[in-house]
Symmetry: C7
Subunit: 95 residues, 7 copies
C-alpha cells in the first residue's frame, strides 16, 4: 500500500530532529516546532497544474527543506506518517 501523488505534489517523510548532532538542521529560536527537514518518498508526474506547466525537480531520496505550515499530514498503515506538499513548498535540497 503506497501513496501516488497527483500533479505537482510530493510525498515526504519528516526526518527525526537530532538536536545534538552536528549535522541536524533545526529552526533557530523555535526548538519546540517541528523541524522542516524531510526525505522525499514519492513524486507526482508534474505536467499541467492549474493551467501552468510544472517540471518536477526533486526525486525520491532527496533530503529537502520545506515551508513551515505547508502540506497535509497523512498516516498510512497505522504507523507510517507522511506529509503531502506541493513542490513549490519545497525551498531547497540539502546535499
Amino acid at each position: 500500500m503506497k501513496l501516488v501523488p497527483l500533479g505537482d505534489r510530493v510525498v515526504i517523510k519528516q526526518l527525526e530532529a537530532k538536536e545534538t548532532t552536528k549535522s541536524g538542521i533545526v529552526l533557530p529560536n523555535q526548538a519546540q516546532e517541528k523541524p522542516q527537514e524531510a526525505e522525499v518518498v514519492a513524486v507526482g508526474p508534474g505536467g499541467m497544474v492549474d493551467g501552468k506547466e510544472v517540471k518536477m525537480q526533486v526525486k525520491v531520496g532527496d533530503k529537502i527543506i520545506y515551508s513551515k505550515y505547508a502540506g497535509t499530514d497523512v498516516k498510512l498503515n497505522l504507523d507510517e506518517e507522511y506529509i503531502i506538499v506541493k513542490q513549490s513548498d519545497i525551498l531547497a535540497i540539502v546535499e
Copy 2:
C-alpha cells in the same frame, strides 16, 4: 439516478474508517475528524475549466486521499452520501 459531474469535478464516496485495521488511513491526532480516504464514483470530462485545460487523472474505482474541508456533501436516493470535489482537491491515489 446518478450524478454526472461537470468540468474538473469528481464524485467520491467516503470509505469507512477502519481504525483498528492495519491498512486503514486515518489522520494522526484527529481521530474525531472524518477520514480523508474515499473512492472515486464518477469523473467529470475535464477540458477547459476556468480558462485552463484540465486533464483528468483519476478514474472510477480509484482509492484517493483528498484535501480536508474540500468538496460539497450531497445525499442521493435518501441514503447514499457522496462528496463532489474538484480534481485539484485530490492529493494522491492510494495503491
Copy 3:
C-alpha cells in the same frame, strides 16, 4: 416575459424538496437549508467570459445540483421564482 441570461449564466428553478420520497436529494444534516437540486430554465450563450472561453455544458430541462450560496434570486411575474447562477456554480447533472 422571460429571462435571457448573459455570458456563462444559467437561469434555474429550484425543485421542491420531497423529503419523504425515495429519489429526493437533500443535504444531510441541513434539512432546514434549501435543497440544491434545480432544473435548468435558460442557458446563456457562453463564449468569452472574463477573458476566458466558456462552452456551455448544461441545457434547458437538465436537473442539476448547484453550489450552495451561489446565485441571485429573481422573482418574475410576481409569483415565479428563479435563481441566476454561473455555470461554474453547477456541480453535477442528475440523470
Copy 4:
C-alpha cells in the same frame, strides 16, 4: 448633456418598482431593497478592458437585471438619476 461610458461600462436607469402589477420583477423577501430591473441608456464600446477582449451584448433600450450592490449612482441635470455598471454585472435581459 449625456454620459458616454468607457470600456465595458453600461449606463442604466432603474425602472420603477410596480409592486402590484403582474409583470413587475421584485426581489423576494427584500421588498424594501431597490429593484434590480433597469433599462439600458448607454453602452460603452467594449474592446480591450483590463487586458481582456470584451464584446458588448446589451444595447440601448434593453430591459436588464443587474447584480445588487454593483455600480455607481450618478445624478445628471439635477434630476436624472443613472447607474453606471460593468457589463459583467448584468445578469440577464428580460424579454
Copy 5:
C-alpha cells in the same frame, strides 16, 4: 511646472460643484461628499501597463466622471490641486 503621468494614469482637476445650476452633476444623498466630475488635464501614454496593453480613451479637456475613492491628491505650485487616477477609474465622459 507640470505633471506628466506614467502608463495608464490621468491627471484630472475637479470641477466646482454647482449645486444650484441645472447642469451640475452631484451624487444623490451625498451632498457633503466631493463631486465626481472632473476635467482631464494630462493623459499618460498608455501602452503595456502591468503586462496588459492599454489604449488611452480620454483626452485633455474631456469632462469625466470618476470612481469615488480612486486616485491620489497632489498639490502643484502651492495652490493648484490635481488628482492622479488610472484610466480604469474613469467611468464615463460627459458630453
Copy 6:
C-alpha cells in the same frame, strides 16, 4: 558604494519639502506627512518582472511623484537615505 536596483525597481531620494516656496509640491491637508516628490537616483533594467515585460520609463535625475506608503527606506553610508520603489508606484514625472 551604491545601490543597483533589480527588475522594475527604482532608487529615489526624497526632495526636501519647501513648504514656503512657490514650486514645492505638498499634499493638501497632510502637511505633517512626508512629501511625495523625489528624484530618481538609480533605475533597474526592467525586462521580465513577475512574468510581465516591463519597460522602464523614468531615468536618473527625473523629478517624480510616487505613491504614498510605497517603497522601502534604506540608509547608505550612515547618512544617505534612499527609498526603493517599483516603477508602477511612480505616478507622474514633474517637468
Copy 7:
C-alpha cells in the same frame, strides 16, 4: 553539507550590522530591527516558476538588500544561519 535552492529561490547570509562603521547599511529609526543587508550564498536555477519564466540576476558573493519580513530562517550544521528568499524579494545589489 549545503543548501541547493529550487526555482527562483536564493540562500543568503545576513551581514553583521556594523552600526558604527561608515559603510554599514541600517534601517533608519529601526535600529532594533535586523539589518536587511546580506550576502548571496547559493542561487536557484530559475526557469519556469509558478508558470512564469524567471531569469536569475544575482550571483554567489553579491551583497544585496532584501525585503523585510521576507524569507525563511534555516540553521545548518547547528551554527550556520541562513535565510531562503525568492529573488523577487531582493530589492537591490550593493556595489
